[in-house]
Amino acid sequence: MEEPRIGVYVCWCGTNIEKVVDVAEVAKAMEKLPNVVLSKNYKYMCSDPGQDLIIKDIKENNLNRIVVSACSPRIHELTFRKTLEKAGLNPYLLQMANIREHVSWVHDDKKAATDKAKSLVAAAVTRVNHHEELQKRTVDINPATLIIGGGIAGLTAALEIADAGKKVFLLEKTNHLGGVVAGIDQSFPYFDSAQQIIQQFIKRIKQHENVEVLLNTKAENITGYVGNFKMPLPMLGIDAELEFGNIIVATGLKPYDPSAIREYGYGYLPNVITSLEFEKMLMSGKIETKDGKTPEDILIIHCVGSRNKNCHEYCSRTCCMTALKFATQLRSALPKANIYQAYADMRSFGKDCEELYLKASQKDIMFLMYDQQKYLPEIRRAPNREKCEMLVEIEEILSGDMVEVPADLVILMTAMEAHEDVKDVARTVGVSLCGNDFFIERHPKLDPVATTTDGVFIAGTCQAPKDIPDSVAQAKAAAARVLSSIDVGQVEIEVTTAFTNEDLCCGCQTCISVCPYKAIGFNEENRVSVVNEILCKGCGTCSSACPTGAIRTRHFTDKQIMSQIEGMLSMTKRKSKKTELEV
């Protein structure tokens, strides 16, 4: 590239910058720097006249690098990039110095602020010398979609997309569809049949011409990138391969195994059962103990595996309502039974759920509060002289008393947790998991459906514990996102990506596991790492990890950052001369 010719523009931002920073002095100081052709200050650089000034200067003075020192690049970097484009320059030949948010708005001392502004602008000038032209790229989207998981979320998303006329591959690792909801009798808070809903879904899915269901299939070895993913299907033949443009991860949940909690005796006390086991009992219509007796005393224990630092610290969000549902169902099935609920906090949030609690509390149910962090209820076999099967000792915290509850049946409201193999799924789709092994969404509030990997969306309980309506809502949202991306047909990909200099890469493969997006692969033939620039997001972590400097991140190269450091510190007063002995 030809010799850099830099234009520097110092913005006043009305009085926002000008009243604290001596903009004229800053602009003047920049004139002395190497390759700076002109340095100006102007009232509003982002205004049309301001932008026109840059365009005019570029054309008249043959400028090929621009430094705009104004507000945060997070606000106007795109604006000025477009300005450069209008002037026929590559937009990446711009560097901004943030002298508003980081200088004039946070400092009062004019002298210090002006000095700081000078060093920031000087850094931008030295940096922009090393900027390179970068080109935008787009890729086509394959209209097929892969959905991982055949539970309520996966089924919903599959139907939504298939109904829109697009192909769906529905992967289910077990031999049947339906997921956890298939094991639920009635759903809270309206006591409608979950069975009916899920069976209808399954029936429609099986008949749908656009849905291809792959049972007993795990998501493995997915390669590719947004718009063009691939997954081999070795059991169908060597070359069998699925091709799809988007992925919806809906791997769902696994009920917590309460046998880890010693106090509950799950596993060796026959009449201690989990909530899903009780659902089975409800479905069969027979509520009875292992010996076939009708239970007289039934205890429901909340927060089993939830909200406790030894198990999971999060709240599983549905157990309180399910427990209230159980209590209500039990009361109508066994009007004479004594029903107890040992709860930690009653969290009956959501539409009509507080009402469910109010109704249940009218049904002669004894609510006992325990501290799920400190004293868990302890279940033991009742001695023979007792009528009941078990005795449960509970530290009841509303009274402060240790109480004993007789029980013939104990139902443990087990937590929702991530599947063990979710790590494999996360790895294959290139999405990270949070500390609890739930998938991390792109933004917890503004983008809870997408992930930081383009083309991969999440739905249902694989993201966080949730109930059926929330899972369905998220599944439909994910489906909508997929459909809109199919509709656009193309996707623009990151420009500031990393790339490998194959002449330097030694093939140590350090970078491969560093990349959170699996964007780096290994070329066995040349024994070098290769960055898939479509997958790369440009974080630059691989560049720092590369021991040879073979991987460079565009727009954030070592040279660019180092020169920025040099420029920044070149303005400080304490200078010492460097002498080199030369012959």
Partner: protein, 393 residues
């Protein structure tokens, strides 16, 4: 102590008049916070409600807090769930009275109107029959009017002298007092056992029984706890009732010869002044409470157990017959006076026999004792804390 929860226990308490809303409580604790009497270690009514909800019978038997409550009703007014904690405390007092009562009569009275009515009728008839057979009206009773026009009350009975009549009545008084006192004292001992002795988690130091004894007397006389309720009028009303009743009790039992005089003494004499004071006090209280219970505006008077009404009716009738008796006497109507006397006793005797050992009036004794016992418990616990023997609650 058995700490087994008991969902059926609420039914038991419902028999003692527990209101419908008992289970509404979600333990916000507003009631305990607002209660002017709930303090330090003696916190109520929330915890008591929890004990009821869980049906911890043994815990309840040793529960002293209900006696600290004088039912100002603030808790029930503050309750966001309308669980009516004040009424629950009242229910507990009824229940505890029956728990302390080893004879089982109290329980029968509280849980069955018919039992109570038959018991009352039995004593009423007993009084009437005894009078009509052994102390009949003398034939010349019409002569028994003295010069000032008042009936000579002690000379209305045939065959015995005025002194003898007084002694017979006095004997009846004392016999009744002894029976009642025996039952009451034994019930208090039972209460002591339930609250202090059966609770193995603390041991009362011997000296405390003496050092804390003054509280018993002081609280009995002043009802000072009551004055801590925010509604001071209520304390005044209650004091009027209490003092009026006590005055009358002393007059008719201890000072009967001075009270039931041969002649009607002049109005400014002490007997009559005290009598009027007592009548006024009781009547004032009765009027206020009756109006309140009928109007149901004041929360503490909204829920009336059958025993509440019976108590008001009995006390009211006793007072009214007493007043009428007094009027008849002043008006010089010997026969009317005589029959009114019998009627007065036929109401008074069953009332004493029911209320003092088994019902409302026993509270008069239980309350100061409860304060005493609770102090003993506190002394014991604080001593254990300081010596590190007791587990933290």
């Amino acid at each position: 102590m058995n700490n087994r929860v008991n969902p059926g226990f609420k039914k038991e308490l419902q028999k003692f008049g527990m209101s419908e809303q008992w289970n509404e409580c979600f333990h916000c604790g507003n009631c305990t916070a607002i209660c002017p009497l709930s303090e330090n270690e003696v916190l109520f009514p929330r915890k008591g409600i929890r004990v009821i909800q869980m049906g911890l019978k043994d815990k309840l038997a040793s529960y002293v807090e209900p006696w600290m409550c004088y039912y100002c009703g603030e808790c029930s007014e503050t309750c966001p769930r309308d669980a009516n904690p004040g009424e629950l405390m009242m229910t507990l007092r009824r229940y505890l009275t029956s728990v302390y009562d080893w004879t089982g009569m109290s329980r029968k009275f509280y849980t069955s109107k018919w039992w109570e009515l038959s018991y009352i009728l039995f004593f009423a008839l007993l009084v009437i029959v005894l009078f009509l057979i052994y102390l009949p009206l003398r034939p010349d009773a019409y002569l028994m009017v003295n010069e000032s026009g008042g009936v000579m009350l002690n000379h209305l009975v045939a065959g015995i002298s005025g002194d003898q009549f007084i002694r017979i009545i006095e004997f009846g008084d004392w016999a009744m007092a002894i029976i009642v006192a025996f039952i009451l004292v034994s019930n208090i001992l039972n209460m002591f056992y339930k609250i202090i002795l059966s609770n193995k988690s603390f041991k009362v130091p011997f000296y405390a029984y003496f050092t804390e004894f003054w509280r018993l007397i002081y609280n009995f006389v002043t009802q000072s706890k009551f004055s801590k309720c925010d509604d001071k009028n209520y304390w005044v009303g209650h004091m009027l009732l209490m003092t009026g009743y006590t005055t009358m009790f002393i007059l008719v039992v201890v000072a009967l010869p001075a009270f039931q005089t041969e002649k009607v003494v002049d109005w400014y004499n002490w007997q009559r002044l005290l009598g009027y004071y007592a009548t006024f006090g009781i009547l004032f209280f009765l009027t206020v409470v009756t109006i309140g219970r009928i109007r149901k505006k004041d929360i503490k008077l909204q829920y009336s157990h059958s025993t509440d009404w019976l108590f008001i009716i009995m006390l009211g009738l006793t007072t009214i017959t007493g007043i009428v008796l007094h009027i008849f006497r002043l008006a010089g109507l010997p026969a009317a006076t005589y029959y009114m006397y019998i009627l007065h006793l036929a109401i008074l005797v069953p009332m004493i026999m029911v209320e003092v050992p088994f019902s409302k009036w026993s509270h008069l004794a239980y309350r100061p004792f409860a304060i005493y016992f609770s102090r003993l418990k506190q002394v014991a616990l604080s001593k254990q804390y300081s010596t590190g023997l007791a587990p933290a609650i």
